[in-house]
């Protein structure tokens, strides 16, 4: 019925950044787990560097 149809797609208008359903075939897609894993590893790396340099 109403809402997201017609190839458009309503985004979460609650956020400042808008995400649509449409995606380009060329776009690089990242798995959310990869982002979280990278975040954790990056944090641990910086923390280790901090400890080592003390």
């Amino acid at each position: 019925m109403s809402g997201s149809q017609g190839g458009g797609g309503l985004m979460s208008s609650a956020g400042l950044v808008r995400y649509f359903d449409a995606e380009d075939r060329n776009a690089i897609r990242i798995d959310p787990k990869t982002v979280v894993a990278f975040g954790v590893l990056f944090g641990v790396l910086v923390q280790v560097l901090n400890i080592v340099s003390l």
Binding site: M1, S2, G3, S4, Q5, G6, G7, G8, G9, L10, M11, S12, S13, A14, G15, L16, V17, R18, Y19, F20, D21, A22, E23, D24, N26, A27, I28, R29, I30, D31, P32, V35, V36, F38, G39, V40, F42, G43, V46, Q47, L49, N50, S53
Partner: protein
């Protein structure tokens, strides 16, 4: 023609987080949201490598509570770049200078790409001066010597870390938007403000900072804290404005109540189904129709002006006095003083001797802050409604597509649009101006934990939205048929 074709190869290749295939169960959504939140708190607690921790000063200053992140951590930039990029996009989109039609899938891809590219540009624009100009993120010369890369090398490392942090925030927001509940930006704002609010209420002396509301009152009531007699003027002042913080408590509770009440104030436009008799609905035009988010854009605009001032001040020795004079990082006179928003009671209550400015200077500053927030709030609210597809034209089309009509009017999108035009623009302007007024008022009277009026407004209204979304999710979990109704599948 023009820029779209030129930029297309870059914009369409911007990396993005994969979309879930099919329905994500509510529990997993909550899992992703909580996971991202934990990662956010983890990263705010990791100090930048190579930072000389002794002498730094927060460039975001009092804007920190709405821009999230934390000074000296990997998430130094917080959501600043996202908000600033959003300002640019709102202004360009609101004035229709982009020529992007967000109903066209091709343009949607371009819009998303442009959004990301702008955030990266803003990370550089705010990150580079933070590290290389002024003394906001001083590099540790010891680390440079130990690694043999010199001060410049350490500064580059610092910038690299905050840039990675900024990009991580962007992707974390995308994960929450696509896989979780609500939006990442909203989540990070609530997280920061709630932390301060809880601290302002419950923190005890052992934690090091100023004690919170409840421990102070416990001390006052048990007599372990000396306070002037409440029958004297000083005593009343101490209870209201000083340690007692009664005024801050009243303001905080009042803002909560007003926002929750205003969320329910609405003009309802009756709808009936064109074919199914008896199927009726209502289209609500809420008083805070554009939500409180446009407010953050106005505040961020003021924040960016203040960054510019502080960076100018720290790099330009011959800065003329009319532009701004600074004492310990705060403007005390000149243009940047008048443009600085009122953050606390001490900024304007001259009789409390918290400020050295003359009353007439304070009046000009309060007047300017009010004007910027009320007019800016209204303007950004209008742009917001236009760019997020909540304007008269888009809503009329949505109502038409859903098969509804306004009883007594012809079933035609133009007719619905005419009716919508009677309400939406007016309500948007009034709502935006009201929110601006509330934010300034709350800052002037002070809030618990110094969370700032805008921070409080944002938190209450984002939490309310989140609550509504969770309720909707649960309804869909219970009745899978509802999913089709809400159109999320």
């Amino acid at each position: 023609m023009g820029w779209k074709e030129t930029a297309e190869p870059v914009l369409t290749r911007m990396p993005s987080v994969r979309r879930p295939e099919g329905h994500v169960p509510f529990r997993r959504k909550l899992g992703w949201t909580a996971g991202v939140l934990v990662l956010y708190f983890f990263l705010t607690n990791i100090q930048l490598f190579g930072l000389d921790a002794g002498t730094q000063s927060d460039l975001f200053g009092r804007f920190r509570s709405i821009l999230a992140g934390s000074q000296g951590s990997i998430l130094q930039l917080g959501i600043g770049p996202i908000v600033t990029a959003s300002i640019v996009l709102q202004l360009l989109g609101g004035a229709d200078l982009l020529g992007l039609d967000t109903d066209d899938p091709r343009d949607q891809v371009l819009y998303q790409g442009l959004q990301k590219l702008l955030v990266v540009a803003m990370i550089c624009l705010t990150g580079l001066p933070m590290v290389f100009a002024g003394n906001f993120l001083p590099a540790d010369p010891g680390v440079g010597q130990a690694l043999g890369i010199g001060l410049q090398g350490v500064q580059s490392l610092l910038f690299l870390q905050i840039a990675v942090g900024g990009i991580l925030i962007l992707f974390m927001d995308e994960i929450v938007s696509k896989w979780g509940v609500g939006s990442g930006v909203g989540l990070f704002i609530i997280a920061g403000v709630s932390q301060q609010l809880v601290g302002g209420l419950f923190a005890w002396e052992g934690l090091g900072g100023t004690p919170g509301f409840f421990p102070t009152w416990f001390a006052i009531l048990t007599g372990s804290q000396d306070i002037a007699s409440p029958l004297t003027a000083e005593g009343i002042q101490a209870l209201l404005l000083g340690q007692g913080q009664l005024l801050a408590l009243v303001t905080t509770v009042l803002i909560f109540a007003i926002v929750v009440y205003a969320e329910s104030v609405r003009v309802e436009i009756p709808l009936s189904h064109a074919r199914v008799k008896g199927a009726r609905g209502r289209f609500p035009v809420k008083l805070i129709y554009a939500s409180v988010l446009p407010m953050i854009l106005v505040r961020a605009l003021q924040a960016n002006i203040q960054f510019a001032g502080r960076i100018l001040n720290s790099t330009w020795n011959a800065m003329p006095g009319w532009l701004g004079q600074y004492s310990s990082g705060q403007p005390v006179s000149g243009l940047f003083y008048y443009l600085a928003p009122i953050h606390t009671r001490n900024d304007w209550m001259w009789w409390l001797a918290g400020t050295s400015a003359e009353p007439w200077q304070i009046m000009i500053r309060v007047g300017l802050d009010l004007t910027i927030m009320v007019i800016g709030g209204a303007i950004f609210a209008i742009f917001w409604v236009e760019t997020t597809g909540m304007g008269p034209e888009s809503t009329a089309q949505q109502i038409q597509n859903s098969g509804m009509q306004i009883p007594g009017f012809r079933r035609n999108p133009q007719v619905i649009e005419k009716v919508m035009e009677r309400y939406i623009p007016q309500v948007t302007v009034i709502g935006g101006a009201l929110v601006g007024l509330l934010a300034v008022g709350a800052n002037m009277l002070g809030t618990i934990g110094q969370v700032s009026g805008t921070g409080l407004l944002l938190t209450v209204s984002i939490t309310y939205k989140l609550y509504e979304e969770i309720a909707e999710e649960q309804l869909m979990e219970m009745h899978p048929m509802m999913r089709q109704m809400f159109g999320s599948e």
